[in-house]
Amino acid sequence: MAELSTEASPSRLRQAWNSDFIWSFRHSPVAVVSFFIVLLMMLGALFAPLIAPHNPFNPATLNLMNGFTPPGQANQFTGESFLLGTDDQGRDVFSTILYGMRISLFVGLSAVLLAMVLGVTLGLMAGYVGGWTETIIMRIADVQLTFPAILVAMLIFGIAKGITPPEYRNEMAIWVLILAIGLSDWVQFARVVRGATLVEKNKEYVQAARLIGRKRYTIMLRHILPNVLNPVLVIATISLALAIIAEATLSFLGVGAPPTKPSLGTLIRIGQEFMFSGEWWILFFPAMTLLALALSINLLGDWLRDALNPRLR
């Protein structure tokens, strides 16, 4: 047996390597490049404190004299130089981008996770239990779908801001943001999962599982859930791009991340003020980072949808 298993594992690896999924990944340069960009950015965000040359949120390390240093040039007063320049307060743009990405990605990932858990749970329940549960869940979904997610998110943000006492508002902003974006985005998941559940529910193997007396939750989790994972994965990827854009938009509009914890959107909001006076780098680099991040995730999602659903090509 031991010999068998040692022989089996490399061949299984090879099998995985040659599987249609990996094959189509390896043969799509766009997918490979986007994947590595996303990976690089995630690592950069995760290890921002180690990579960033400065800590832009520690006032002690900031020198106002360093303000408005153009990228790659030495500052005329201090002689220090910065890869991507500095903003008005002398903060290193490269460092603020790393920390901004950290917040953007954290909010985006958490919001998608929230939307996914909520949507999949409600979708499964609606599809499997049916009856009144289904009617109520899907009606709420319909009403919410009438409104664009970004508007729903703004409303939730506004309401939550009204409820939280002023002294906690800045602290809570990030969590309110996650809540707002997450709650605005669950409908997609719920609809797809419900649809797939309705199909799976009537298949023989589920009927059989029910006949032998499996519990409802066991059937939902063990039998139905695995069958809806592919579309959920695709939606999650595309939702991540949307969530990151939504967060950036809210922060740009000034109803998102507070200036004390700037995300990419906040940085763009700050940078916009200097667009007319020629300090383009304060705006340009955060904007390009956001674009690259959202575009890579979208490209990855696009490829994923085609790879998991070959009918569409």
Partner: protein
């Protein structure tokens, strides 16, 4: 068909009641209206008097009903921030938003459908693939970035077009329009591109997907097998079938233009209801938020209703049997 219309109208009313409940709950439970309306120097008697005047001592359902009554008459009370009637402020701002939404909606619809058909028919062509890739960039570009880029290029670098405001407006009855002056039209260009571009990409991708789906259908194959011309297959057989699902989502998209105007209006400091709303969110001006929500809902529900009616014009299956609603 009449039964179908009545049911759709009933559903619309239900949606409005739910939204009304949300708006009312915001009024009632988010922040304290008494706090907001009375200054620091207040007595317990003032508070009690205001509670009675506002009807806050009545049961919840009565209050909700009163709120709906007032809302139906367009009365949403005073803005916490400006101290003026919310309905006045909204009416002042509405023409700016509607004109912007109209121009960009038209652009998105025409551009989206034409490009969608083109990319579906020339699926393997080079130009179609270039457009598709470009559209993915378009989807990944947040609206506000598009606006900033346009401002940078056309206002800062080239100096051709204004970067903010509506330009010179003309008053026609109770309506202010920017369509009649050169500066008003110039001021419309950048904001409508900003607002319309994203919707255009979405509509284009949607039309393309639906069209490709339809082109795979048996009746298209059968039409080919009968020797029907490509032109007729694409525009007579495929396009008509594509339009049925496209109309639903496009209707919703056009409705959401009014909501997305919030972002564009902020970037261009466009004096519409969107800018009003975002300021209201920042300052937790609940009456303005609630009124905006109700206004947008009425518009969305109206658009949805029109979209439903459009189905009848296109799909004979709906005209025929009344029992199966939806599509």
């Amino acid at each position: 068909m009449l039964a179908y219309i009545i049911r759709r109208v009933g559903q619309s009313v239900l949606v409005l009641l739910v939204v009304g409940l949300v708006a009312f709950a915001m009024f009632r439970f988010v922040g304290d209206p008494i706090d907001a309306m009375l200054g620091q120097e207040r007595t317990q008697a003032d508070i009690e008097r205001l509670r009675v005047v506002l009807g806050l001592d009545r049961p919840f359902v009565v209050q909700y009903w009163r709120f709906l009554e007032q809302a139906a008459q367009g009365n949403f009370g005073l803005s916490y921030r400006q101290g003026r009637p919310v309905s006045d402020i909204l009416m002042e701002r509405l023409p700016a938003t509607l004109e912007l939404a109209f121009v960009s909606g038209l652009m998105a619809l025409i551009g989206g459908i034409v490009l969608g058909i083109f990319t579906a028919i020339r699926r393997r062509g080079i130009s179609a693939n270039v457009i598709m890739t470009a559209s993915l960039i378009g989807v990944s570009l947040p609206t506000f970035l598009i606006g900033i880029m346009l401002i940078y290029l056309f206002s800062v670098e080239l100096g051709w077009l204004p970067s903010f405001g509506r330009g010179e407006v003309t008053r026609v009855g109770g309506w202010t329009t920017g369509f009649l002056t050169e500066s008003g039209l110039k001021a419309l260009i950048l904001p409508s591109i900003t607002l319309g571009l994203y919707q255009m990409t979405l509509i284009m991708r949607l039309v393309r997907t639906e069209m490709l789906e339809v082109l795979r259908m048996d009746y298209i194959r059968f039409a080919r097998a009968r020797g029907v011309r490509e032109k007729s297959i694409n525009f007579r057989h495929a396009l008509k079938n594509t339009l049925v699902p496209v109309i639903t989502i496009t209707g919703l998209q056009l409705g959401s233009i009014i909501a997305f105007a919030i972002i564009t209006e902020t970037v261009f400091q466009w004096p519409g209801v969107g800018l009003l709303f975002i300021n209201a969110v920042q300052f937790v001006d609940i009456p303005v938020m609630a009124a905006y929500l109700m206004l947008i809902s009425v518009m969305f529900v109206g658009i949805n209703l029109i979209v439903d009616m459009l189905y009848f014009a296109i799909d004979p299956r709906l005209r025929a049997d009344r029992t199966t609603g939806g599509h």
